[in-house]
Each structure stands twice: as C-alpha cells, then as structure tokens.
C-alpha cells in the first residue's frame, strides 16, 4: 500500500503542523519558567511531553482513520491528536488551562479528549490500550466498520495492561491495532535495559495476531503497514501489533537535561529526522512541487499560530468550576 502524491503531501502537512506545534508549545511552556526552571510557573504549568521526531507514526497510521475510528494516546499525544483531527484550538486552550479547552482546563496536556473524533489520551503508561480494545469490541458488537487504535511507547509494552489487552483483542478478534512507538527510551531507561527482547513484534505471536516491525521511522512504510492492518481489522480479519522505530528528538519532558543519552546520539538521531528526509524525498521523486510543500508549511504555521492565539485569548476558568463534571 503506497500513499499517492496527494496522500504523501497530506501526511507531510500533518507532520509539519505537529512539529511546528511542538515548537510553539515549547516556546510558550518556557515562558516564565526561566532562568530557574520551575514547572509550576508560566502559562502552561506541569509536565510537558513533546513528540518531535515521532510524527511519522501518527501521520502514517491516522491517514487511514476516519472520525468514527477510535484512538487512544499516551502522555506524548500531540502528534497523534493532530493526525487524528482533534480540534487544535480547543486542544491548545486545554493545554493552557483555559475555559474553552477540551475539558475546560480540568485535564490539561496529559488528558486530551475530543469526542467528535473519538480521541482520548491519558497519563498512566499503558492505560489507554484496554479502552481501545473495548471500543473495538463495541464496533464489532454493533456491526460497525470502525477500528480502534491504541498508540503506546515501547516502555508501555512491559506493563501488564498491554498483555491483558492484547490477549483480549486476539481472543475476541476485534478490529484493533496496537501501535508501539519505539523511541528506544522510557524516560531515561533504554529499551535494552527494560525489555527482554529487542523487538516487541515478536510478542504478537503470543496473542494470535500478526506482528510487524518498521525500521527507520519511515512514513511510507508506516503508511503501508498500518493501512494493511487497519484494512484487515475493518474487514473482520482481527487485530495487529505494529512496532515502529522512531526517535524522540527532545527530552522525555520539556526541560529534561537528557544526561542519560550516550555521546553523539542526539546528533545521529537528528540526522535521521523524518521531516527533512520526507521533504527531500518528495521533491526528488517529484511527488510534490516545492511550492506545494511550502504552501503546506505556510498553512501549518498559520494553523498553529491560530491555535496558540485562540488559547491565549481564552479566559481562565472560574475556580469553583473545579467542582463540576466529577459526575455528569
């Protein structure tokens, strides 16, 4: 399954929007937090986990999804939310803790829900997998042609929730795909020190589903593999597990000094950044004209700027609003 020219450009646009978004969030995040980095300060308090470098995973997978398809994402969710079509203005307002945010500021960056596009995220490693299996079950029970996708990190594949959820999915043959973004780190612990096997695709055999490993953070291979898996799931062919080699170009959280990285790693993964590589390839292969690419980039920065402006303009919630929505 090869993405055609317009699909490639669309993916690139998602990726570039996501990257610009992360850059903008990073800028806003550091406001008021420097010179002495203190998480509590600035327009965006708390932890911040950016996805720069991992855009191909989200763009390649979500290219095959409609609004009805369900996606659960992790603490590192922005690229996925953008690829899934989450309302970026309300999402940004949420990250800024504003009243027009997706949850009116109750959840923040780690708790992004957009029911219009069936998107959720959470801050507990592995917590989103089972809900996606349950969403897939509901599609299966109701005879709907939708699929559910759980995005997780390679670190999450060692949580019990991963095992239980994948077994359920394989047992019930629900339309579910598990995407593991293998950025080779869970915070500071590299995969070799956390995972008994080099690649998690081998674990798929334990759940009666195909396991695929994609090297090199390549948007086109991701698109192809995810397309096949999602298609199969949609047609009743059951779940799949896809692990993708990707790169976390920033720290685990914004402000992370990344002292645990081996010498030279940052440079080497930066050289493998999929964004410029895809851009070059599109040009080289005549997939898109430079003008189209620049237009996409321009439109991305406008989208991002609009979202940030929307968030900044939105009012803060009234304190007592905290008491609402515990129960509906």
């Amino acid at each position: 399954m090869e993405p055609d020219a317009s699909q490639q450009l669309a993916m690139y646009k998602k990726m570039v929007t996501s990257r610009q978004y992360e850059d903008a969030i990073q800028g806003a995040y550091f406001e008021g937090k420097l010179p002495n980095f203190n998480m509590a300060n600035g327009p965006i308090p708390g932890e911040m986990h950016l996805s720069s470098g991992q855009e191909p995973c989200a763009a390649g997978v979500c290219a095959h999804l409609t609004n009805d398809d369900y996606v659960s994402a992790t603490h590192r969710a922005h690229h996925i939310a953008i690829a899934k079509g989450v309302d970026l203005e309300r999402m940004t307002a949420e990250i800024f803790g504003r009243v027009s945010g997706l949850s009116g500021g109750r959840g923040g960056h780690m708790h992004l829900f957009d029911t219009n596009v069936n998107f959720m995220s959470s801050g507990i490693v592995g917590e989103g997998i089972a809900p996606a299996v349950g969403a897939a079950l509901s599609f299966q029970m109701r005879g709907l042609p939708h699929v559910a996708v759980a995005f997780i990190g390679e670190g999450a594949a060692n949580q019990g929730a991963f095992h239980e959820s994948l077994n359920l999915a394989g047992l019930w043959k629900v339309p579910f795909v598990c995407i593991i973004e293998d950025n080779s780190y869970g915070i500071s612990v590299d995969k070799k020190r956390s995972t008994a096997v080099p690649r998690n695709d081998v674990r798929a055999a334990g759940y009666n589903m195909p396991g695929i490993y994609i090297e090199n953070n390549d948007p086109l291979s991701i698109y192809a593999a995810a397309g096949e898996a999602i298609d199969r799931a949609r047609k009743g062919g059951g779940p799949s597990l896809i692990e993708i080699e990707t790169f976390r170009l920033t720290g685990h959280f914004t402000g992370d000094p990344e002292t645990y990285r081996p010498e030279g790693e940052k440079e080497s993964i930066t050289k493998r950044d999929a964004l410029p590589l895809m851009r070059e390839r599109m040009i080289k292969n005549d997939v898109a004209a430079v003008a189209d690419i620049e237009a996409a980039e321009q439109s991305a920065s406008e989208t991002v700027a609009r979202a940030i402006a929307f968030a900044r303009a939105a009012p803060e919630p009234a304190p007592e609003e905290a008491l609402n929505m515990v129960f509906v």
């Binding site: 369900y70 659960s72 945010g101 997706l102 949850s103 009116g104 109750r106 959840g107 708790h111 829900f113 957009d114 029911t115 069936n118 959720m120 959470s122 507990i124 917590e127 997998i129 089972a130 809900p131 996606a132 299996v133 349950g134 969403a135 897939a136 079950l137 509901s138 599609f139 029970m141 109701r142 559910a148 019990g160 929730a161 239980e164 959820s165 077994n167 359920l168 047992l171 609402n324 929505m325 515990v326 129960f327 509906v328």
Partner: protein
C-alpha cells in the same frame, strides 16, 4: 422500601439477575463481561440464565484479566455501550485499580463531561464463612474515598434490584457491592432479612438516598449492607432493654445521604456507626466526623463505632468471628453512649 409480607420474595442474587435481564431486554447497549458469568451464571449467580437468554456476545466470559476487561468496558462505554462488569471478589481490586479509579472514575472529569462512563462494576464483598484475607474484605471505604465513582451496597433484594436499575441508568461509573452474607446462595448461608418482596417489574431505587429501617429516639445506628441487619437485631435487643434505637441503612456511600444521618442524630443525640470494613480511615470515621462537625450541638455523648479491626481477615473461625462486627458489640457500643 415497600415491603409487603405475602409476596414475591427474592434473594439479592436473584434480584440482581432479574434487574440485569430486564435492563438487557429494554436496552440493547447493556452487555455483561466478567469471569465465569456465562454458562456458569457467575460465581455468585448474578447472571444466572442470562447466557441462555442473551447469548455469548452480550454475556461475555472473560480471561482472568481484570485490567483488560474493566478498561475495555470504559472504551465500550465511550462508544455507546452500557457495560456491566463483574469483578468476582472485591479483594481483587488491586490488580485493576488503575482502570477503576484513574480511568473509569476520571474520564468524565478529564473530558469536561464530554465523555461520560456509563458502566457498573459489581463485586462481592464480605466474609464470615472462612474464606480468609484475600476473599473476605469489603473495601467500600477505599472506593468511596476516591472521587468519580458512585458506591452502592444494598442490604436486601428490593434495594438490590432497584439500585441495579438505577446504576445501569446512571451515566457515571457505579461500584455495586453485594455482600456474600446476604446473597441468598445456599453455599454461603444468608441473613434472612435480605430476602424481601421484590416487584416483578423494573423499578429504580435512587442512588444516594438512605433508608430509615427502624425509627427510634434514643440513639442512631448507621450502617450499610450486612451490618444493618446486625444493627436491626441490636435494636430489637435494645428495645427489650428500654432503649429506642433508630437504624439507618445508608445504601450508598457516594452519594452519601448526610441529611438523613444528621436529622436522626439531631433527634437522638447519640450515634453508633457499624461497619464491616477496616476501622481506621474508613466509613466509620467519616460518618462520625460529619456528625461531630455538623451536629456537634446535638451530640449528647461520644459517638461510637463498631468495625473490623485493622487486621487482615483471619481464616480460623474463632479469630474471624472475633474480628467481625456483631449484635453484641453494637449493643455494647450503644450502652457506651447512654
């Protein structure tokens, strides 16, 4: 609680199964998941007959994967279903508490109300039959302490059916705890008072409304689930001693019917709280604190409590009986307030 005498008496177990069946009949979105709830009808009979009536798709046996299937219920609830899941014994909550308290209970809040989680988690509580420390706990205080879930525990079949209907209709996660000593299964023995008239039609008992099971003027005894039957027996004894005890069945801890308790305490001036959960940092402390805080002027004596001591539930009969609340402990506590 309308209780007529000559009537359709059900056990709590049967009342739950009946409510589940009715809910599944009237609402396609309702389905069941849990271990052994299919052909077996549930370890405690709560789904008896439903597998045959509704089939394996809507009455789903699961693997022993509580995090998996409770988490799946949350996702199904987000996509238009109304799952009822069974956690066989509440003691197993430790393997799946994240899916309960961080996921099911908080998604509504985290989504600003956009993604309610209409699900019911039913689970067996209580001991007294020698099942030891990992199969005899009640733990309702633990759920009630953490925000975002409603917590109910019926004391009789009438309430069990009505509360189940209300729980299924509720758009929030409801933890529905049934006590093994009340359940009406031959192999567990049953407190007779739990077997009550139960109308054959669907009806709701609202979540968050306590019931005054017996009126009295000298002392208020508060509890829920199995302990209210102990309280009723104690009240009977006390009546013989000239002490008039009011007995309140909270029926749910969240929402908590504070007003019912406070009204009674304002009337009697004396309070005894009875619980089958661990004593410290739990239900008894909360009820007493509410009374001390909001009815201080009415209190004529130090409030008392009878609860499971802060020890694991012991296996051997003499030790388990020592630890459990009972009628005599309640009577003694009442006397301590007089």
């Amino acid at each position: 609680m309308t209780k007529t005498t000559n009537a359709r008496k059900l056990t709590i177990s049967k009342a739950m199964a009946e409510a589940l069946g009715e809910a599944m009949d009237s609402d396609e979105r309702v389905f069941l998941m849990g271990e052994d709830i299919g052909k077996l009808g549930g370890a405690f009979g709560n789904t008896a007959g439903l597998y045959d009536r509704f089939g394996a798709k809507r009455v789903r046996d699961t693997p022993i994967s509580e995090t998996g299937f409770i988490g799946a219920a949350v996702g199904a609830a987000a996509c238009g279903m109304r799952p009822v899941v069974e956690l066989m014994f509440v003691d197993f909550f430790g393997v799946c508490m994240d899916a309960i308290y961080n996921l099911a209970a908080k998604n509504a809040y985290f989504s600003g109300g956009a993604q309610p989680v209409p699900m019911v988690l039913m689970s067996a509580i209580g001991g007294g039959y020698g099942d030891a420390g990992q199969h005899s706990q009640t733990l309702y205080g633990t759920f009630a302490h953490l925000p975002g879930m409603k917590v109910v525990a019926p004391s009789n079949a009438y309430d069990a059916k009505g509360l189940m209907h209300a729980a299924i209709k509720d758009d929030n996660p409801v933890i529905y705890l049934f006590h093994k000593a009340l359940h009406g299964l031959a192999w567990l023995g049953t407190t007779p008072g739990s077997i009550t008239h139960t109308p054959a039609e669907p009806y709701e008992v609202p979540l968050g409304k306590a019931a005054v099971l017996r009126e009295g003027s000298d002392v208020t005894i508060v509890g829920l689930s199995w302990p209210v039957h102990l309280a009723l027996a104690a009240a009977e004894d006390l009546a013989g001693q000239g002490v008039s005890a009011e007995v309140i069945d909270l029926r749910s801890l969240v929402p908590l019917d504070k007003e019912c308790v406070l009204n009674s305490v304002r009337k009697t001036g004396r309070l005894v709280v009875v619980d089958d959960d661990y004593q410290s940092f739990g239900v008894t402390g909360e009820i007493i604190a509410i009374a001390a805080n909001e009815a201080f002027g009415s209190l004529k004596a130090a409030p008392q409590r009878v609860a499971h001591p802060d020890i694991p539930v012991p296996f051997a009969r003499p030790m388990e009986q020592f630890a459990l609340p009972n009628k005599d402990k309640i009577v003694a506590s009442v006397h301590a307030t007089l």
